[in-house]
């Protein structure tokens, strides 16, 4: 099992079609704060992608904030992968 050992963030808050994600060590579980400009239409699918990326890296304990501005699935997953890798680095 992998661990998030430091706070990290990725993404550009000024860019459309992007999302800003921050990650930090959790308090025993996954805590997700999610907001999106397309939450009503795609919120469930996006949260599923977020949890899928966490499980790929075996992350079970982290605090996440995702502020989405219309990122499509490969962009959201790229941002998740980058922030997880940054958070896992020593």
């Amino acid at each position: 099992m992998s661990k998030i050992i430091r706070a990290a963030s990725v993404g550009n808050e000024k860019q459309n079609a992007d999302c800003v994600i921050t990650i930090e060590p959790g308090n025993g579980g996954i805590e997700l704060d999610f907001t999106s400009t397309v939450e009503i239409q795609y919120g469930d699918a996006m949260k599923e992608a977020i949890f899928d990326e966490l499980s790929k890296y075996g992350i079970t304990d982290a605090k996440l904030t995702v502020v989405d501005r219309g990122a499509i699935d490969p962009v959201l997953r790229a941002r998740m992968e980058a922030v997880i890798k940054r958070g896992m680095e020593g």
């Binding site: 550009n12 079609a17 992007d18 997953r77 790229a78 980058a82």
Partner: protein
């Protein structure tokens, strides 16, 4: 057919997503200058995901990786080469040895990824005085080298002079690199015109590059793509003349003539070669011959 090569920052999801709609023949996804050192990792992952997902089948894909003097180029190749982009652009190339380092690294990843060895082309970016002087050696360093690109900004910084819109300071480099590329049998692309808001300057700059023998020109602004495509496409008059040359030669051959003339001028071998090149390009661009007046 590659006339325009448009740089797109690999860290910008929206621009990467819509790259295929910009009208450029080739998109250069930039992992180098357009991406800050802090974002190299995220840009690389973003580009990899979007290259896997989006439909770029109508354009040629080139990726500019980071230079050999950076700590990033190997990771760039590891992430991008398995996706088999048509071209990899390598910055700050100064010698055949630089090309060989990239060639070897790409070959190893091609083999690991099950790609045909040599299937990915290289476009060395020549942007130093030393690179210009060695440009023929660079172009012939590997069969992987398909084209070279002149980088005017770094080159003038290296020359310790000011980059101007007129471009007198890069004139020697332009002429030298065109000659080197043509001698080596590879294509050659001009440096971008950097004033994104000058819609007339780009027309003159592209026409001048075309007159020197460049195959095409790069751009950092989508606004310049149409002007570049137009400058590097044959005009209707060029196409019609090329077909007239071809017909005159065919007619002369039929009549057993040793020398063939068209409109009072002898058609020699270079004229024939140029005409056939023009016809080939016109066919690729879908430019047809004008109907004859008596048709």
């Amino acid at each position: 057919m590659r006339r325009s090569m448009l740089f797109i920052p690999a860290a910008n999801p929206k621009q990467v997503m819509f790259a295929a709609t910009m009208g450029a023949d080739t998109i250069i996804f930039d992992l180098e200058d357009a991406v800050s050192p802090m974002e190299k990792d995220s840009a690389r992952i973003l580009l990899r995901n979007l290259l896997k997902t989006m439909d770029y089948s109508k354009i040629e894909i080139c990726v500019r990786v980071n230079s050999l003097d950076s700590p990033f180029w190997q990771e760039d190749l590891e992430e991008i080469v398995p996706l088999a982009p048509g071209l990899i652009m390598t910055p700050k190339i100064e010698s055949p040895a630089d090309v060989e380092v990239f060639d070897k690294a790409i070959s190893e990843i091609e083999e690991k990824s099950g790609l045909e060895k040599g299937s990915i082309g290289l476009v060395p970016l020549i942007e130093t005085a030393k690179g210009i002087e060695n440009s023929y050696l660079v172009a012939t360093a590997s069969p992987r080298v398909k084209a070279m690109l002149l980088g005017g900004e770094d080159y003038t910084a290296n020359l310790q002079c000011k980059r101007t819109k007129e471009g007198n300071e890069i004139d020697y480099a332009r002429k030298r690199i065109v000659n080197a590329a043509r001698a080596a049998g590879v294509e050659i692309y001009d440096t971008p015109f950097t004033d994104a808001h000058d819609d007339f300057g780009i027309i003159d700059d592209a026409a001048y590059a075309k007159s020197l023998g460049f195959t095409g020109k790069s751009a950092i602004s989508p606004r310049h793509v149409d002007a570049i495509n137009e400058a590097f496409s044959p005009s209707q008059a060029d196409v019609d003349y090329a077909y007239d040359v071809r017909d005159a030669l065919a007619e002369g051959k039929e009549k057993g003539l040793g020398v063939v003339a068209l409109r009072g001028k002898m058609i020699d071998k270079p004229v024939e070669i140029r005409a056939l090149q023009t016809i080939a390009i016109a066919k690729e661009l879908g430019i047809e011959r004008s109907p004859k007046e008596d048709d």
